[in-house]
């Protein structure tokens, strides 16, 4: 489904990605972890066309993504969220979702007024549990609700691959739990890549994990395998001591 080969990204000589190889098969829920600055966000940027790789190839569903424009990649079925959530605060929750869902319509078709709620939007509302807030402006949503709205906007686009950059950062425990369940449900019929730091969250919801470190893939495997890997422990040691992979404190 998604395949990165020897991808390199350099910022003024600094190698943010230094030969990344990554394959995510269709239908998988893949977690991507790594210490700050490991290149996780950069990896998503490369796939979605925000950053151009200096070398290497990025293929999705048999098509080369390098050199395509952001909106063209979205049209191929790749959706992403950002580390800091961006929803359109002046628009209501439904309008945000509807805007996301209408992206395949030609521009002139958008000049008609929205009538009711489309199937895709209704489904997103239900999945993210935002029905009660449907007519409220997105500006009044809490941090957690915004993240769900963003995920809902992606779902309304019916993408094949979702790339989520730290969707649970800053969420309360309950919200994390709900998000985890949401991700698992989404993964039933989508391919999903989730960037996440929080080890506790990983243990509860992840199956396959890829660890990125200094622009390279360090290890890849199940949560249990990865958490006992000495290299991973070394990378995380001292950085986030309380989060040290392996033994639960």
């Amino acid at each position: 489904m998604l395949e990165l080969r020897d991808v390199q990204v350099a910022f003024d000589g600094f190698r943010a990605l230094d030969g990344v190889n990554l394959t995510v098969p269709e239908g998988e829920l893949r977690f991507l972890i790594g210490p700050n600055g490991a290149g996780k966000t950069t990896l998503i940027d490369v796939v979605t066309g925000l950053t151009r790789p200096a070398a290497g190839s990025v293929r999705f569903a048999g098509q080369d993504l390098v050199g395509r424009k952001e909106h063209q990649i979205v049209r191929l079925g790749v959706g992403r969220t950002f580390q800091t959530s961006v929803v359109f605060e002046e628009l209501t929750v439904v309008e945000n979702l509807d805007l996301a869902a209408s992206f395949r319509e030609p521009l002139w078709a958008l000049t008609r007024r929205r009538k009711g709620v489309s199937e895709a939007v209704a489904e997103s509302l239900a999945r993210t549990g935002l029905e009660a807030l449907a007519e409220r402006p997105a500006g009044v949503l809490s941090h957690g609700q915004r993240q769900w709205l963003e995920i809902g906007m992606l779902l309304a686009q019916r993408p094949r691959l979702l790339l989520l950059d730290e969707p649970v950062a800053g969420m309360s425990k309950d919200e994390r739990e709900r998000t985890g369940e949401l991700l698992t449900a989404i993964a039933a019929d989508h391919t999903v890549v989730v960037v996440e730091h929080d080890m506790d969250f990983l243990r509860r919801h992840a199956s396959t994990v890829t660890v990125l470190h200094e622009g390279r893939v360090l290890v890849e495997g199940s949560v249990d395998e990865v958490s006992v890997d000495p290299r991973v422990q070394e990378v995380y040691l001292g950085r986030r001591a309380d989060d040290t992979v392996g033994e639960r404190s």
Binding site: G79, V86, F88, L99, T111, R114
Partner: protein, 343 residues
């Protein structure tokens, strides 16, 4: 449904029935002029208020429309000969650029299409390169300055600094007649009304939502699979078309078109008017143009230079104290009243 259209219907009746009956011809002519500016303001409200594109060069599009119309008027009056100003500047043969403007359909089409095409070209170049905010504003302002230089420099082609004036008839109607001017006023008011309804429809559609989204988060919109450059170009072109049409109407109403009417200052004045009226609401933009038009006439009759400073001061006051303009203040008051009545 009826309630929603009531404000518009009231204003329409006042503008189309009451004003022509009550206002003396001179006053009605002034109102027609302000309504021409209001058409430009409507376009600015769309592009800037909804789309976040601060365009300081609408005078360019207004001018293209105005000059197209003026060329047609001059050619009909010359009856196959040369327009008066060309004779004065020693031009001996009608320039090729002028020839097709003898056809009213061509001239009117160009009044709208010229600005639209220019805006599409400019928008495609600029928005693709992700030029925005202040850079876009400065660019459009530079365009207005360049336009003036071009017009002034081509004396034989454009009438230079003086522009074109002395128009006598339009489609066989004597422009000096009160009835012609009243008819023109009704046309201007009608065009404004139709454009207002169409723009409001656009703003309330999904396209309008998309436009607001582009204004508030262009990058995010890109990752929703839309091309913000296209959305912005189309919107900018629509506002340019409106300004062009306004310019074409302005010429027979006011009887002159010249570089001074479309340069940097008039372009800025219109943006100030939209800010004062309230750029977030289309009606605010329209209202702003009319109010500022009257204010300008009233004040510059007394102290000519004072107006410029007063206008600047007003702009600063609005931007700092009531950034949503008159429309914003009205909304706040209405909201207070409603909640006061509710309790």
């Amino acid at each position: 449904m009826i309630k929603r259209h009531l404000p518009f219907a009231t204003v329409a009746v006042i503008a189309l029935v009451a004003a022509p009956l009550l206002l003396e011809p001179f006053r009605l002519g002034l109102l027609a002029k302000y309504l021409c500016y209001a058409i430009v303001a409507l376009g600015i409200g769309l592009a800037w208020g909804k789309g976040g594109m601060l365009t300081l060069g609408q005078g360019v599009f207004f001018g293209l429309g105005g000059y197209s119309m003026a060329m047609y008027l001059k050619l009909t009056e010359a009856e196959g000969g040369l327009p008066d100003f060309m004779v004065w500047s020693g031009v001996e043969e009608l320039p090729a650029l002028w020839v097709p403007f003898a056809n009213p359909v061509f001239a009117l089409s160009m009044a709208v299409l010229g600005p639209v095409v220019l805006a599409v070209v400019l928008g495609t170049l600029v928005f693709r390169q992700r030029v925005r905010g202040a850079y876009f504003a400065i660019l459009t302002q530079a365009l207005a300055a360049a336009m003036v230089i071009l017009l002034v420099g081509q004396q034989g082609l454009t009438g230079g600094t003086n522009g074109m004036t002395n128009f006598f008839e339009l489609f066989g109607q004597d422009l000096a007649e009160d009835s012609t001017q009243r008819g023109l006023y009704l046309v201007v008011a009608g065009v404004l009304g139709v454009l207002y309804l169409a723009t409001r429809q656009l703003v309330n559609s999904r396209y309008g939502r998309l436009l607001v989204a582009v204004r508030d988060g262009e990058d995010r919109v890109r990752f929703l699979g839309y091309d913000p450059a296209l959305v912005k170009t189309v919107t900018f072109a629509a506002s340019a078309g409106m300004a062009g049409l306004a310019g074409a109407l302005f010429v027979p109403v006011v009887g002159i078109i010249s570089p001074a009417l479309l340069g940097v200052v008039p372009s800025l004045e219109l943006v100030v008017a939209v800010a004062v009226g309230g750029r977030h609401v289309l009606a605010g933009a329209v209202l702003g143009a009319v109010v500022m038009g009257y204010a300008k006439t009233a004040f510059s009759e007394q102290f000519a230079d004072g107006w410029l400073y007063l206008q600047g001061a007003l702009f600063i006051v609005v931007m700092t104290l009531a950034s949503k303009g008159i429309a914003g203040v009205a909304q706040t008051v209405a909201g207070r009243l409603r909640s006061a009545r509710a309790t």
